[in-house]
Symmetry: C2
DNA sequence: GTCTATATTTAGATAGAC
DNA sequence: GTCTATCTAAATATAGAC
C-alpha cells in the first residue's frame, strides 16, 4: 500500500466524527450522551447551518431536554468547535505523515494526501465538510480549526513544490497550483451539496486523475 | 472577442450586484434606498451568514431604522433571494449565449463560460459567491436561485458532451467531468474565503489552464 | 446525567404618525 | 420613505431539585 492508488487504509480511516478528547471507546458502539449530542448537532449544522440550528432542536434529536446539553458542553459554540476540529484533524495528521515519508516521491505522497482528503469529504452519512463553509468558522472560538486547515494547506504547497523540484510536475507556480488543488479537493463539499447521492470511490478516482492532469504529471507506472 | 481568452467584455460584465427588477438606473450612480439595502445586506450576509445577520444590522449599515426595511422588502428572506438571483442570473445568461452560439467550437464556448464565471466570482468588493454556500439557499423561497444554478450546471454538461463528441476533449465521462469543472470554478469561492486578496486575472488564467488540462484538450491556436 | 422552572435578551415584524 | 412605539415569539443560558 505504498502507492497513491491505495485507499489510504491505515490507522486513521475517514470514518465517523466525534470523540477527540477521550480515546475511542474500547468497544466502539453505544455512543453515549456526549457523542450522541455531537452526532445530532453535526447533522443539523450541516442541513441548516449553525445559527439557524437551535439548542432545542439538538436536544430533541438526542432525546433530552434543552438545558441538559449544558452538562456536556459549556455553550453552543463549543459543540461546533469540537465537530470542526474532529473533522479536520485526520487530514492534518495524514498531511504530517506524507510530509515525513521522505522515501516516496513527492508526487506520490501528494496524490495520496489528496485521495485521503477526498474520501474523507465524500464519505460519512452527512456532508460533514460543509461545516468548513459555515461563516461561523471565522469566529475566534474556531482558531484551532483554522490552524489545522492552514497546516493542511501548507502541506499541499510543500508537496507541490517538491514535486516540481523533482521534475514530476509541470506547472507555472507551486503555491497557486497547490491552492487550486486544495480547492479542487474541497470542491467535493460543493458537489455533495448539489447531489447528495455521490459515489465516493468514483469521485476519488476522478479527482485523482484531474489532479494529475492539472499538475502536468507524466503518467507513471500505475497512473493513468 | 470571439475567442475564449477575451475577457467576456460584452453587455453583462461581472460587475455589481442588485437591481434585477428595475432596469439599471440611467446614470448609474447614487444607489437609492432599495439598492443600498441590498449592498449592505450582501456584505453582512457574506461576512456573517444569513441567520447570524440581523435586520437591525442591515438597517444600521444603510443608515435607517430597522422597520424602514419593510418598506423595501416584505421580509428578511426576500433580501437574500434577490441577492442570490441577481448574482446567479448573469452566469445563466452567459450560459444561454454560449449554448446558442453554434458557430464556435464547443470547447471554445465552454472555456469562455468558465472564464466568465470565474471572473464573476473572483471580482467585486465582497465574496458574493459565498451566498451560494449558505444553508438557507435550500429553503423553498430560494427555488428560483436553485433553478438558475441548475440551468448553468446543465449548460456545462451540454458543452462538455459536445466537446467530447467533437473530439476536442479526452475524458471518461461527460457528466462527471462537467460536475468536476463546475466545482473547480466554484472553488474560487473557497479560495477567496481563505485569501481575500486574490488576483482575479491570475485566478482566471490558472483555472482556464486547469480546465483545459482536465479536459485533456489538445492545445489549440491560442490555448497554452 | 437529566429534569423543571425561569431569567434575560433579542429577533422579525406590524401599526400608524409624519 | 422614514420614523417611534410596540407586539409576539423564541433564543441561549442558569439555578437548583432529583
Amino acid at each position: 500500500m505504498n502507492t497513491h492508488s491505495a485507499t489510504a487504509a491505515d490507522g486513521r480511516s475517514p470514518a465517523t466524527v466525534a470523540s477527540p478528547d477521550r480515546r475511542a471507546r474500547p468497544h466502539g458502539k453505544p455512543a453515549v450522551g456526549r457523542d450522541r449530542v455531537l452526532a445530532s448537532a453535526a447533522r443539523l449544522f450541516v442541513e441548516q447551518g449553525y445559527a439557524a440550528t437551535t439548542t432545542r432542536q439538538i436536544s430533541a434529536a438526542v432525546g433530552i431536554k434543552q438545558p441538559s446539553l449544558y452538562y456536556h458542553f459549556p455553550n453552543k459554540a463549543a459543540i461546533l468547535v469540537e465537530l470542526l476540529v474532529a473533522t479536520a484533524e485526520p487530514s492534518m495528521l495524514a498531511a504530517r505523515d506524507m510530509l515525513a515519508d521522505r522515501d516516496r516521491s513527492p508526487l506520490d505522497r501528494l496524490i495520496e494526501l489528496i485521495d485521503f482528503d477526498v474520501r474523507l469529504l465524500a464519505s460519512g452519512p452527512w456532508n460533514i465538510g460543509s461545516l468548513y463553509l459555515l461563516p461561523e468558522t471565522a469566529a475566534p472560538e474556531c482558531v484551532r480549526f483554522r490552524e489545522l486547515r492552514s497546516e493542511l494547506a501548507a502541506a499541499y504547497e510543500t508537496l507541490v513544490s517538491a514535486a516540481i523540484a523533482a521534475g514530476e510536475a509541470n506547472v507555472e507556480s507551486g503555491p497557486r497550483t497547490a491552492a487550486l488543488l486544495f480547492s479542487l479537493v474541497e470542491g467535493v463539499i460543493l458537489r455533495r451539496n448539489d447531489a447528495s447521492d455521490i459515489d465516493a470511490e468514483q469521485i476519488a478516482r476522478d479527482i485523482q486523475q484531474a489532479a494529475i492532469r492539472v499538475l502536468g504529471a507524466t503518467p507513471g507506472r500505475d497512473r493513468a
